[in-house]
């Protein structure tokens, strides 16, 4: 009962509706677009703001062993998921090894905007969460990429992982911005936040709406242009993998002893798939893999699934399990 109320409430939030607007506009072939520079600007804002808030959270609550264990767990999950996703893909689809490895890498890594959308659900419900989950998000970005390349190389695909690639992957802009602003928030604490609150906190939800409008446009365009790229099996994968990953995240969060909010966030991270950092890395390291497959799957199937249905499910489960 309550679950459906929550799901409905989420579906009718400005955030989800903005996504739907973008999605519909793209499907209808409207010429509505957000300029690339503006989209990047919005994304930088969101990463910066969420990083600061996370860091301030840690400054307030202090460091605890939970921080370390969460980071380690995030790292391990991100590194392990691609193997699971790869196995699932071999069952559900006829993708080549290279394509499957590339897709698997996306699902091990995370989508920060899905994470941010969950923080927005939590804020809306008045459920607090651990600030250090932002750092966990950052830690989960990269390991999956290496696992994916490992999978490909053990099967004769892909090039060897150069130092240059490692460097690019580990210092990619989202990681640097998230970790950097997290540290800034941590160092400056609530006093620092107070001075920039009117920028990083108050308008956050609204900026997120515009960003989700853009995401909707991208997702809709992806779906529209790739008719035929995705088999039924892949579409199923795009909805099942988040649930599987989410379930594992849920269990891990509970084992770690995270709060309800923290469990919901870890579940979301595990359920989400990258569409920024990992595709760029795959273009470089697995050029034979077909970008339409992994981009359409991550952005056109999994992201909308998580946003419209997943968030409510993960939150409801986290509340059940987390008390």
């Amino acid at each position: 009962m309550e679950f459906f109320a929550l799901a409905g409430q989420n579906l009718l939030s400005p955030i989800v509706l903005s996504f739907v607007l973008g999605f519909a506009a793209a499907l209808a072939r409207s010429d509505l677009t957000i300029p690339e520079a503006v989209a990047k600007g919005l994304s930088i804002y969101l990463l910066f703001a969420i990083g600061i808030k996370g860091g301030v959270g840690v400054a307030e609550s202090g460091l605890s062993p939970l921080v370390i264990s969460s980071l380690v767990a995030g790292f391990v999950l991100s590194a392990a998921f691609p193997f699971l996703a790869f196995a699932l893909l071999r069952v559900l689809s006829r993708l080549s090894v290279t394509d499957a490895a590339a897709v698997a890498g996306h699902y091990g890594s995370i989508s920060i905007v899905t994470f941010v959308a969950m923080t927005s659900v939590l804020d809306g419900q008045g459920v607090p969460f651990e600030g250090h989950m932002v750092a966990v998000a950052a830690v989960m970005e990269a390991p999956a990429i290496l696992s994916a390349l490992f999978i490909a190389s053990t099967r004769g695909a892909g090039r060897k992982i150069s130092g240059e690639l490692l460097h690019e992957v580990m210092l990619n802009s989202s990681i640097v911005l998230l970790v950097g602003s997290f540290i800034i928030g941590w160092v400056t604490g609530p006093a620092g936040l107070e001075r920039i609150e009117a920028f990083v906190v108050s308008p956050f939800q609204g900026v997120l709406c515009l960003f989700l409008l853009d995401m909707g446009l991208l997702a809709g365009r992806g779906i529209r242009e790739s008719r035929g790229t995705l088999s039924g099996g892949l579409v199923i994968f795009g909805c099942v993998m988040p649930l599987v990953g989410g379930a594992i995240g849920l269990g891990t969060g509970w084992l770690l002893g995270l709060s309800t909010g923290g469990i919901a966030l870890l579940t979301t991270l595990c359920a989400s798939a990258s569409y920024i950092a990992v595709p760029a890395a795959m273009r470089v390291a697995l050029p034979e893999a077909n970008p339409s497959v992994y981009l359409t799957l991550s952005l056109g199937i999994t992201f909308p699934f998580n946003l419209t249905a997943g968030l409510a499910i993960y939150f409801a489960l986290a509340r059940m399990i987390g008390g």
């Binding site: 957000i34 690339e36 989209a39 920024i276 339409s292």
Partner: protein, 110 residues
């Protein structure tokens, strides 16, 4: 005004590979190059546009290089090495330039 024969090489390449390409061009003795942004495109892998994109993955860029006929071969070779396993278009055109001495040097005074 006397002009001199030169080559104009144009490389359309995936944005995430740009750094690697320019490094190789530098090593192959490129006198210089200029990178133009790309807005959209289409090819066998379908259409794409930069609109609203955050990831570097979904986009190309264009590298223009004016060079001497002698150096052109080595630079085409360098471009080819990067582009080969990837999508990307390399074309070379005859052109005339005014100050040939500008193109007869390696970048970075090395």
């Amino acid at each position: 005004m006397r002009t001199h024969a030169a080559k104009r090489i144009e490389i359309i390449i995936e944005a995430p590979l740009l750094r690697r390409l320019t490094r190789l061009l530098d090593e192959a003795g490129a006198p210089g190059y200029t990178v133009l942004p790309v807005l959209a495109g289409s090819g066998v892998s379908g259409p794409w546009t930069r609109d609203g994109q955050v990831s570097a993955a979904g986009g190309m860029c264009t590298v223009i290089m004016v060079t001497t006929p002698e150096k052109a071969e080595a630079l085409m070779q360098a471009a080819f090495e990067i582009v080969e396993p990837h999508i990307g278009i390399v074309s070379m055109t005859d052109c005339e330039v005014l100050r040939p001495e500008l193109f007869d040097r390696s970048a970075g005074e090395s």
